[in-house]
């Protein structure tokens, strides 16, 4: 039977279906691996019984000949997804102990497809962060270490850092993530796995704790491009409960996977050559272009003239929407309440002061400021107008190309505590944010290692609703990059 925890979802699914091993054997091995990896702090809650129950149901269903597409596959669920009866904290103290009486549409879709749940995955508080250091439950430690003999703890990226670490450390074969400005793609790049953020509206946001509603989008993270296609097919779909859900059919992404890119044009945006980005990252980008050429595609230079303004636009729009979304944490309906106050107003202010961490407070303050009377037009309306121009840049670009290739992040993973300036931290998402603002599908696939032996990712942006081309280009890179490096087990 061997180590099932190192297998891909496709391998587990096929082996389970052909009877090489049972779903219970898969769940037991992953449960044991989860329990043995607590040093990573990737899970905030472990749910081994849930994984076993789903496994037993899958084994029974297989005996009867009827199984769902994810039968026998246990998954990790980011703690931003409401899971019925299981703690959902969003990495925040203000939601400590919150047990939703409902299930998010996406996690419910995965369950209906037969998946079990290994537990809830740690994350930056309310998904605000790029390093997992803002979690109220402590940072996630990346399974990777530098090759220079240093034992420094590295960040797995964020905000889906627990998700990324879990896949990289073989303590989940696949996971859910969410991406508001790079929160799936940057952590996937940092730990050498794949992650895709689909077109805005593909996955229902119902039951996902809101950060910035016009940007938030769920997506899968897994070891391979194929696994991402399998998971995304199960997660996506129209949901009448989400007014921004797209009423379009879910394509058969896995069945249509092809690494043949003949006739495809790859846009290479000149504005993504940014000063100060390590040469290794630009060199990997060049290799990525060669790989896509080898797969049959033709590179074309394109221009996305407003790239430089994407991050400042994001850091007005996302905090503005967050300040409004996070108004619901008031100590009345759920979560923390600070007692011993004089008035209702005091209770709100004391509860929010106690319950929110520094980064969340900072963003609520920025959001409140840019939405306040006198500043609304100068900041918020202005940012929405620049967002329109960024979207237009991509529309123009996709008249000349079918996909866009860029690096995923401007650096490899950094050490925990190494980046303390909030603005410097925000710059981590410089390559990821524009696609988020435009609502486009985008994916990170591992491309190679830097001089310190740490993974670097390549980033593919596709046109609206064209996840297939993104996945296909990802597959073409995956086949050529031959990325097989894994972190040495120290935990």
């Amino acid at each position: 039977m061997g180590e099932l925890t190192s297998k891909t979802i496709a391998e587990l699914r096929d082996g389970f279906r052909s009877g090489d091993f049972t779903a219970r054997e898969i769940a037991e091995q992953f449960n044991a691996a989860v329990a043995a990896a607590r040093a990573l702090n990737a899970y905030t809650v472990e749910t081994p019984e849930d994984a076993l129950a789903a496994a037993d149901a899958a084994d029974q269903a297989r005996a009867g000949g009827e199984t769902g597409p994810l039968a026998g596959i246990p998954l990790g669920i980011k703690d931003l997804f409401a899971t019925q009866g299981v703690d959902t904290t969003s990495g925040s103290k203000i939601l400590k102990g919150f047990k939703p009486p409902y299930e998010s549409t996406v996690s419910g879709n995965l369950r209906r497809a037969g998946a079990g749940m290994l537990g809830k995955l740690n994350m930056d508080e309310f998904a605000m962060g790029s390093s997992n250091e803002t979690s109220a439950y402590g940072p996630v430690i990346s399974p990777w270490r530098r090759n220079n003999g240093s034992n420094a703890s590295l960040t797995p990226g964020g905000s889906s850092g627990g998700s990324a670490a879990a896949v990289a450390a073989d303590i989940a074969p696949g996971v859910t993530g969410t991406d508001t400005g790079g929160s799936i793609r940057q952590p996937a790049a940092f730990v050498g796995i794949c992650g895709i953020k689909p077109t805005y509206g593909r996955c229902s946001r119902w039951g996902i704790v809101s950060f910035a509603s016009s940007l938030d989008q769920a997506g899968p993270m897994a070891k391979t491009v194929r696994d991402c296609a399998i998971l995304l097919e199960a997660m996506a779909g129209f949901d009448p409960k989400d007014s921004t859900s797209l009423d379009v059919p879910v394509p058969q992404w896995e069945a249509n996977l092809s690494s043949d890119l003949k006739g495809k044009r790859v846009g290479v945006p000149r504005e993504y050559r940014i000063d100060g980005v390590p040469e290794e990252i630009n060199a990997l980008w060049d290799r990525g272009i060669e790989w896509l050429k080898d797969a049959g595609a033709t590179p074309v230079e394109i221009s996305l003239p407003h790239t430089k303004y994407a991050l400042p636009t994001y850091y007005i729009i996302a905090p503005a929407e967050a300040s409004s979304n996070l108004a619901r944490y008031d100590g009345v309906r759920y979560g923390l309440r600070v007692e011993g106050v004089k008035s209702l107003d005091d209770m709100y202010a004391a509860t929010r002061a106690e319950g929110f961490g520094a980064e969340v407070k900072r963003r609520i303050m920025i959001g409140t400021y840019v939405l306040s009377a006198g500043f609304y037009d100068a900041y918020f309306t202005k940012a929405q107008k620049v967002r329109a121009l960024i979207k237009q840049d991509f529309r123009n670009a996709f008249e000349q190309c079918d996909l866009i290739l860029t690096p995923t992040a401007p650096s490899a993973a950094f050490g925990i505590g190494e980046t303390t300036d909030p603005l410097a931290m925000y710059l981590n998402d410089v390559f990821a944010v524009p696609a988020s603002l435009a609502g486009l599908p985008a994916m990170s696939v591992p491309g190679g290692l830097d001089a310190q032996g740490l993974p670097l990712g390549l980033h593919i942006i596709g046109n609206e609703l064209d996840e297939q081309t993104v996945l296909n280009a990802g597959l073409a890179i995956e086949k050529r990059a031959g990325f097989t490096a894994r972190p040495g087990k120290w935990w």
Binding site: K308, Y334, I364, M365
Partner: protein
Amino acid sequence: MSVSTEQVRHIAKLARIAMTDEEVERLAPELNNILGWVEQLGEVNTDGVEPLATVIDQKLRLRDDVINDGDIRDNVLANAPEAQHGFFAVPKVIE
């Protein structure tokens, strides 16, 4: 544009977040740093550009005007820090 500590206090009040003087002193330069940085958007000519509020090209759907849920009081109150007699309880708001 620069945010004074007085303004930070005012924003904190609007955001319903209690803050100590020390926190206000620390936050003011941080906010100024971030706001100074976003002000580069002023360079972009946005004359005649419609603000983009949503990236998807669809009208807000209306659901049928029917009761599709209800009778779930205990569910709604299940996570309340304080519930009394089937209601959310809060500190006294009227004399």
